[in-house]
C-alpha cells in the first residue's frame, strides 16, 4: 500500500505536533486572562487541541485498514516482512 508510509508519517507528525502544542512556549501564548465561551482561553485551547488529536487519530486510523495490520502481522509471524515495516 503506497499510502501506508504517508499515513505513518502523518501519524508521527500528529504525535510530535501534539506534544509541541501542549507544551510552553506555544501553550504560554494562550495562557492569558481572556475568556472564550465563558471559560479561560487556555482551557478552551487545551480541550480544542485534545479534540483535534482525537478526531485526527480517528481519521488516520480509519485509513489504516484492518487487513493491513492483520496482513503484516501474519507475514511477520510466518516469514517476516522487511519492506513494509519501518523501524521506528
Amino acid at each position: 500500500m503506497a499510502n501506508r508510509r504517508k499515513l505513518e508519517n502523518a501519524a508521527l507528525a500528529l504525535s510530535v505536533f501534539g506534544v509541541i502544542l501542549l507544551l510552553p512556549p506555544i501553550l504560554s501564548i494562550f495562557n492569558i486572562e481572556t475568556r472564550l465561551f465563558g471559560a479561560p482561553l487556555v482551557v478552551i485551547y487545551l480541550f480544542g487541541i485534545w479534540l483535534l488529536l482525537i478526531v485526527a487519530t480517528f481519521f488516520l486510523s480509519s485509513f489504516i485498514s484492518n487487513s493491513d495490520i492483520n496482513a503484516t502481522s501474519k507475514e511477520d509471524e510466518i516469514k517476516g516482512n522487511k519492506t513494509t515495516e519501518s523501524k521506528n
Partner: protein, 902 residues
C-alpha cells in the same frame, strides 16, 4: 441523607453485579463466544482503568488546588495513544509473540531472561503501587463516610476508618482471587474480569458526567456563570502559573504511566487479544479521557465558590449533590467513585500477583524444592495459583497498611504522582528494550536501581515528611548533615518543585546509567537473541548474528533449548523426572546419552524428529552451532504450531507443487526416453540405406569386371537407397516442423471431397500398376471443413498408398467412403490386405512404427507417414484413427469437424 446500611448494601449489590458480569464473561469466553467481549470498545473501556478514584474524586480536588494541572495527567496518555502505531503496537506485538505476562516479564525477558531484573521490577512495582491501592481504599472509605455522614445510627456507627478500609480490602481481595486466579493461562488473559472492568468504566463515566451536567446546568447556570461567580468569589480562574516545569513533568509522567503502570500494562498489552483493537483505542481512549475531564473544572470551581471553606475538594463530587439535596445523584456518584476504585484495585492486584508469583515465588520454589512440577506440571500450576492468591491478599493488605499509617495525608493526587514517578523508572529500560539493541541486563538493572533509589530518596521518603519528624529533619538537613544529599535539593539545587526535582534527577541518572553501563558491559548470547527478538519484532528473524556455542553442552544449555521448544513446564517436568529416576538433584543431572535420547524424543514431538536431532546432535558434538540457530528453530516451531492452520495450507500448496513437479519430471523423463528412442530409430533408418549405398559403391569401386547389367543394377540400388534416405530426412524435418508448429499453418474453409478426389487421382497410377482396385464407394454431400487443402490431400495420399502398398490379397482393393454424421465429416479408407495386428494397432501412429512392414517394402516404408498424418489432422482439429473391422484388412478413418454455413 442516606443511611450507612443502605450504602453498604448498595456497594455490596454492586460487587455482586460485578461478580455476575465477570462470571458470565468467563463463561462466554470459555464457550468461545468472544465476539462481544472481543470488541475493541470493551478493550478501550478496560484501558480506562487508568481513571481511578484519583480521577473521579482527585481530579476535582487537584483542579481546586492546582488549577489546570490535572489536565496533564490525561493529556499524556492521549499523546501516547495518538501515537499508538509507534510504541503500543510494537509492545503488543512483542507481548503476543513472546507471551509476555507483565512488565516485569517484558524487561526480564528482553534482558536475557534475567531473574534479578524480574525481581527488581516486581519489587518496584509493588512498592510503587501500594500507595496507589491505599489511595483507592482511602477514597472509597472517605466517600462512604461522606455520603453517610449525617446518619449516625447506621451499621457504621461502631466502625472506624480502619475497619471499614480493611473490610473493603477483604471484599476486593475475595473478588480478585475468585476471578483473577481461576486458571493459569499461557497468555494470562482474564476475559471475565475485563468485562467487569469495562462495565465499571461505563458506570464511572456516566456517573461523573451526570454530576457534571447537574452542577453546570442545574446548579451553576451554565459554564460562563460558573466561571464568573468563581471569579467574583475570589478564585483564580486563570491559574496562569500552571504551565511551568511541573506541567511538563506531569505530562511526561502520565505518558510514562500509561505504559509502565503494571495495571495499564496488564490491560493494554497482556489482555490485548487483537492488535487491531489498538486502532480503535487510539482515538477512543483519548475520547474517554476527554469526556471524563470536561466537567472537572466547573465542578471544582462551583465547589470552591459555594461550599464552605473547610470542605475537602476531593469529595466535591459527592458533597455538591448532597448539599443540593440530590441524594440519588450522590448515590450514583458514590457508585461511580466506587467503580473507579474497585477496577483499579482488581487489575493492579492481578498484575502484581502475576509478577510476584512468576518472578519471585517460582524462581525460589524452583531453586529450593526438588519435587515441584513432577506430574504434568500440575504442581507448578497449583503453586502458581496459590502464590497468586496469597499475593493478591498480601498486596491489598500492604495497601491497607499504607493507608493505616499515612492516614493523615489528605491530598489524593500527590500520592498518585508519587506512584507515577516510581513506575516511570521502568521507562528507560522499556524504551531501550524496544529500540536499542545494545542495552544490556547490567545496564538495565543498574539504571532501574539507581532511578528507584533516587525516586525513593527524593519523592517517596519525603512523602512521610509531614508525619515523621526524622524524615522532616532529613529533608531539612540532609543525611549526616550533608546538605548536597538533601532529598529535595540534590547537589545543592534548591527551589525546584519536589516532583520536578525528583523526576529530573531520577530519569536523568536512570538513562545515563543505562547507556554507560550497557556500553561498558557485554551481552550474553541469550541477551543478544532476546534483544533482536524484541527490537526486530517486525522483521524476519534471519538477522541473528552467528555466535558460536562451543564446547560440550551443559545441562543448562539443554534445559534452555528444551524450555524454548517444550515450554517451561513440560521442560521442567522432563528434567525433573529424569533427575528423580537417576536419583540426583535436578541441578546435578548429567547430560548422558540416555538423557539425550529421551530429550530428543520429547523435542521431536514438538519440532519434528529431524530438527530435534539436528539441534541436539549439534549441541552434543559441541560443533559450531550458533545458539541463535537453535533458538530460531525453536521459535519457528512455536510459530509453526501457533499457525498450524496456515502451515497446513502451505503444506498443501507445497504438496501440490511437488506433485506438479513430479508429473513434470516424469513427463520430462518420458520425453527424454522418447528422444533416445527416436534417435536410435533414426540412426537405424539412416544406416539401413547407407549400408546398401556404401556396400555397392565399394563393389563398383573395387570390381572392374562387372557387366554393364550388373553395374546398372547396382547403381539403381544406390540411387533408390539415396532417394529413400532423402525422403526419410525430409519426413523427419517435416514431422519436426509440424510438431513444433514451425510452419505457418492456415486452415481455410474447404471441401474435403475435393482433397479425396485429388488423392485418388494421384494414387490411381500406382494402384493400376499393382493391380489394386481403387474405388469410391459412397460420398458425403457437400460440406466445408477448416483445413489446409494440400496437407489434407497429403494425408489421404499417404493412407491410400499404404493401403495399396501393403495389400497382398489376391484380388486387392482399396475402398474409400465418406459421409456426414452430425457435425462431422468422416472419410474411411479400407483395404483387404493383411491388416494390422492388434498388438501393433496402438503403436501404428508412433514414429518408425513397423506395423505394416512385414512383407512389402518397396520404398522401405519409413514409419513416419502415419505419425505425420496424425499430426496434420490434429492441426485441423480432426481425428485420425484405425478402425476395428471384422474382416480382413485395415480401415483408417479421418474425422473432421464441419463448419456451419453462414
Amino acid at each position: 441523607m442516606l443511611s450507612a446500611n443502605f450504602i453498604i448494601l448498595i456497594a455490596f449489590a454492586y460487587i455482586c453485579l460485578l461478580f455476575a458480569i465477570a462470571y458470565f464473561g468467563d463463561r462466554w469466553a470459555s464457550k468461545g463466544k468472544k465476539t462481544f467481549l472481543n470488541s475493541p470498545f470493551i478493550y478501550t473501556l478496560a484501558i480506562s482503568v487508568y481513571c481511578t478514584s484519583w480521577t473521579f474524586y482527585g481530579a476535582v480536588g487537584s483542579a481546586a488546588r492546582n488549577g489546570f494541572e490535572f489536565l496533564a495527567i490525561y493529556l499524556g496518555p492521549t499523546l501516547v495513544f495518538v501515537a499508538w502505531w509507534f510504541i503500543l503496537r510494537k509492545l503488543v506485538r512483542i507481548g503476543q509473540k513472546n507471551r509476555i505476562t507483565s512488565i516485569a516479564d517484558l524487561l526480564s525477558s528482553r534482558f536475557g531472561k534475567s531473574n534479578r531484573l524480574g525481581i527488581l521490577v516486581t519489587l518496584i512495582a509493588v512498592i510503587g503501587t501500594t500507595p496507589y491501592i491505599a489511595l483507592q481504599l482511602k477514597a472509597i472509605t472517605d466517600s462512604i463516610k461522606v455520603i453517610s455522614a449525617s446518619s449516625n445510627n447506621g451499621a457504621l456507627a461502631g466502625f472506624g476508618d480502619g475497619s471499614l478500609a480493611l473490610g473493603i480490602a477483604a471484599v476486593m481481595a475475595l473478588f480478585t482471587i475468585l476471578f483473577g486466579t481461576r486458571n493459569v493461562d499461557a497468555k494470562e488473559q482474564h476475559h471475565g474480569v475485563v468485562a467487569a472492568i469495562a462495565f465499571e468504566a461505563i458506570v464511572k463515566l456516566v456517573a461523573f458526567i451526570a454530576v457534571g451536567v447537574f452542577v453546570v446546568f442545574s446548579l451553576g447556570g451554565g459554564v460562563e456563570s460558573i466561571f464568573t461567580k468563581a471569579q467574583e468569589a475570589g478564585v483564580d480562574i486563570y491559574a496562569k502559573s500552571t504551565f511551568g516545569p511541573r506541567w511538563i513533568a506531569i505530562l511526561f509522567l502520565s505518558a510514562t504511566a500509561i505504559l509502565c503502570l503494571p495495571r495499564q500494562f496488564q490491560i493494554t498489552i497482556v489482555e490485548n487479544s487483537d492488535e487491531r483493537h489498538l486502532k480503535t483505542a487510539g482515538w477512543a481512549f483519548p475520547a474517554y479521557l476527554f469526556l471524563m475531564s470536561i466537567f472537572t473544572i466547573p465542578i471544582a470551581l462551583y465547589g470552591l465558590t459555594t461550599l464552605p471553606a473547610g470542605a475537602n475538594p476531593d469529595m466535591f463530587v459527592l458533597t455538591i449533590p448532597l448539599a443540593a439535596d440530590n441524594g440519588a445523584l450522590a448515590m450514583f456518584a458514590f457508585i461511580g467513585g466506587f467503580s473507579s476504585g474497585t477496577s483499579m484495585i482488581i487489575i493492579a492486584t492481578i498484575a502484581l500477583s502475576i509478577m510476584i508469583s512468576n518472578h519471585i515465588v517460582m524462581p525460589i520454589a524452583l531453586r529450593t524444592s526438588d519435587n515441584i512440577g513432577t506430574e504434568d506440571g500440575q504442581g507448578v500450576t497449583r503453586l502458581l495459583l496459590t502464590s497468586r492468591r496469597i499475593s493478591i491478599a498480601l498486596v491489598l493488605f500492604l495497601g491497607f497498611l499504607y493507608f493505616w499509617f499515612s492516614g493523615n495525608s489528605d491530598a489524593l493526587a500527590a500520592i498518585g504522582l508519587i506512584s507515577f514517578a516510581g513506575v516511570a523508572q521502568f521507562l528507560p529500560s522499556m524504551i531501550a528494550a524496544l529500540y536499542w539493541r545494545e542495552a544490556s541486563v547490567k545496564g538495565a538493572i543498574a539504571a532501574t536501581s539507581i532511578g528507584f533509589l533516587i525516586w525513593g530518596w527524593t519523592l517517596f521518603l519525603p512523602s512521610f515528611g509531614n508525619t515523621n519528624l526524622w524524615v522532616a529533619n532529613l529533608i531539612e538537613q540532609g543525611p549526616w548533615g550533608i546538605s548536597l544529599l538533601r532529598p529535595q535539593a540534590l547537589f545543592g539545587i534548591e527551589g525546584m518543585d519536589p516532583l520536578v526535582h525528583s523526576v529530573f534527577w531520577s530519569m536523568l541518572l536512570n538513562a545515563v546509567v543505562l547507556i554507560i553501563v550497557s556500553l561498558l558491559s557485554k551481552q550474553s548470547a541469550l541477551e543478544r537473541i532476546q534483544s533482536s527478538l524484541f527490537v526486530d519484532v517486525f522483521l524476519e528473524k534471519g538477522s541473528a548474528q552467528s555466535r558460536a556455542m562451543r564446547g560440550s553442552a551443559s545441562i543448562n544449555d539443554l534445559f534452555f533449548v528444551a524450555q524454548r521448544v517444550l515450554g517451561g513446564k513440560r521442560a521442567y517436568a522432563l528434567f525433573e523426572n529424569f533427575a528423580k529416576e537417576s536419583g540426583v538433584k535436578r541441578a546435578d543431572v548429567e547430560p548422558t546419552a540416555e538423557f539425550f535420547n529421551r530429550l530428543e524424543r520429547e523435542l521431536a514431538g514438538s519440532i519434528g524428529a529431524a530438527s530435534a536431532h539436528v539441534v541436539l546432535s549439534k549441541v552434543l558434538s559441541g560443533s559450531e552451532v550458533s545458539l541463535e540457530e537453535v533458538m530460531q528453530i525453536a521459535d519457528e516451531t512455536q510459530q509453526v504450531m501457533k499457525y498450524s492452520q496456515q502451515l497446513e495450507q502451505t503444506t498443501a500448496q507445497l504438496r501440490s507443487t511437488a506433485d506438479q513437479l513430479q508429473t513434470a519430471n516424469s513427463r520430462l523423463r518420458e520425453l527424454d526416453l522418447q528422444k533416445d528412442d527416436f534417435l536410435s530409430k533414426v540412426s537405424h533408418e539412416v544406416r539401413t540405406p547407407m549400408t546398401a549405398i556404401r556396400s555397392f559403391s565399394e563393389i563398383l569401386l573395387t570390381h572392374d569386371d562387372l557387366s554393364k547389367d550388373q553395374q546398372k543394377k547396382f547403381i539403381t540400388t544406390i540411387n533408390t537407397e539415396s532417394m529413400r534416405l532423402t525422403k526419410l530426412l525430409d519426413e523427419i524435418l517435416d514431422l519436426n516442423a509440424l510438431e513444433r508448429g514451425e510452419r505457418p499453418w492456415i486452415n481455410l474453409s474447404i471441401d474435403p471431397r475435393q482433397a479425396v478426389n485429388r488423392a485418388i487421382d494421384i494414387c490411381y497410377p500406382i494402384a493400376m500398376q499393382k493391380n489394386v482396385k481403387l474405388e469410391k464407394v459412397t460420398q458425403a454431400r457437400k460440406v466445408s471443413v477448416n483445413a489446409d487443402a494440400d496437407r489434407l490431400t497429403q494425408v489421404f495420399i499417404n493412407l491410400i498408398t499404404n493401403a495399396i502398398k501393403y495389400n497382398d490379397a489376391r484380388k486387392p482393393f482399396v475402398r474409400i467412403s465418406s459421409r456426414k454424421i452430425r457435425e462431422k465429416y468422416i472419410v474411411e479408407f479400407a483395404d483387404n490386405g493383411q491388416g494390422i495386428l492388434e498388438s501393433d494397432a496402438q503403436h501404428i501412429f508412433e514414429k518408425f512404427s513397423r506395423g505394416r512392414r512385414k512383407n512389402a517394402r518397396d520404398d522401405g516404408g519409413l514409419g513416419l507417414g502415419l505419425a505425420i498424418s496424425r499430426e496434420i489432422i490434429d492441426k485441423m482439429n480432426g481425428k485420425l484413427e484405425l478402425v476395428k473391422t471384422k474382416g480382413r484388412g485395415a480401415t483408417f478413418r479421418v474425422i473432421l469437424p464441419i463448419i456451419s454455413k453462414g
